[in-house]
């Protein structure tokens, strides 16, 4: 039998100090977030969105990779089918948020409902890794996750504006390595997450499954396939002591 996890019943606080700490932990991401948001603003201008529409998209969707991909497929005529296709593409690109919400649930569900739901509404890659790393290092305050998300939500929305205005300067995102912002940020943050006993099997399995899926299936399914495979491997071969 396994003993109950020591954290299982302890309530989780959500403090203002934690939210400030979350914002502070987000500061290193700001250059990446600013440049990525500006690139989305530039793509919006290129596709004929008004400034108001570009800001509305960044504020309500707040998920850069899906915004960029949807803008690449932005139609000229908005039939119901075209809108459904955009929603489907957005879902596919953002399906990783489903896994992230699942991973955060054992921690956040012990926190206060209102702030936790607000934090979930602003769930993205950046505050997910900030929150996960903080919690993996023993932190409990849900405010860190919530504050990081809200802080970058505001920055993300505002940074769309100069991008929309200066779109013509950002037409080649590859040249400025904007396409690498997310993988590079993830790489840096993965260093603090690695636990040899747990991850020596999970990470190679995740990488292998993701690479194979990326070769076989178009789109972003490789993230889901790799993450689920790695996670299941960790579950199946967990330490039984």
């Amino acid at each position: 039998m396994h003993a109950p996890h020591p954290d299982a019943a302890r309530p989780v606080p959500c403090t203002v100090a934690g939210m400030v700490e979350g914002a502070r932990l987000s500061v290193p991401m700001l250059p990446g977030v600013l440049v990525f948001a500006a690139a989305v603003g530039a793509a919006s201008a290129e596709k004929g969105l008004t400034l108001g529409q570009a800001v509305l998209m960044s504020f309500t969707v707040y998920a850069g990779a899906s915004q960029l991909l949807a803008l690449q497929l932005w139609p000229e005529v908005f039939s119901l089918a075209a809108i459904a296709a955009l929603a489907a593409v957005t879902t596919a690109v953002n399906l990783r948020f489903l896994l992230m919400g699942a991973a955060l649930q054992p921690w956040l569900s012990r926190g206060p409902t209102g702030p936790v739901h607000l934090g979930l509404a602003g769930l993205t890659d950046a505050n997910f890794v900030i929150g996960s790393r903080y919690h993996a290092q023993g932190g409990q305050d849900a405010g860190v996750f919530v504050g990081a998300g809200l802080f970058m939500w505001i920055i993300w929305t505002l940074a769309t504006i100069p991008g929309h205005a200066l779109g013509h300067l950002l037409t080649d995102p590859r040249r400025f390595a904007i396409d690498m912002v997310m993988p590079l940020t993830f790489t840096a943050m993965s260093i603090g997450l690695f636990r040899l006993r747990r991850d020596r099997l999970a990470w190679p399995v995740a990488a292998g499954a993701a690479v194979i899926t990326a070769h076989l299936v178009a789109g972003y399914w490789f993230i889901i396939a790799g993450a689920v495979a790695g996670s299941l491997a960790a579950g199946a071969f967990r330490d039984r002591d």
């Binding site: 290193p28 899906s66 929603a87 879902t91 991973a103 569900s109 396939a225 960790a234």
Partner: protein
């Protein structure tokens, strides 16, 4: 801009937003209805790292040599100074330099 010109893009944006909120809450909602067995706990604890690895490795393979140079630079900077911003700066600088030199 007439009302119909405005309505299409805004409807599309709101549909994208609704889809994104649905996935943001779905995983959390599902996990709150599934009992947390030792298997699931171990799987969820490994999930953040697995998501990162499953994202970075295929994107790097797609990005070519310049992407690997950037990831190597970011890793070295992170191990050396343990600062996210230094790692991101080193990585992006290395990618831009590699691409400016004409590497794939």
């Amino acid at each position: 801009m007439t009302a119909t010109e405005w309505a299409g893009p805004v409807t599309a944006i709101l549909a994208m937003a609704a889809a994104t909120y649905a996935v943001r809450f779905a995983g959390y909602w599902i996990m709150s209805r599934v009992p947390l067995t030792p298997f699931l706990r171990a799987a969820l604890e490994a999930l953040p790292g697995a998501i990162i690895v499953a994202t970075v490795v295929p994107l790097a393979m797609r990005g070519g040599l310049s992407a690997w140079i950037g990831i190597a630079a970011a890793t070295l900077a992170m191990v050396a100074v343990r600062k996210d911003i230094a790692a991101l700066a080193a990585g992006m600088g290395a990618v831009m330099a590699a691409r400016a030199l004409g590497l794939p």
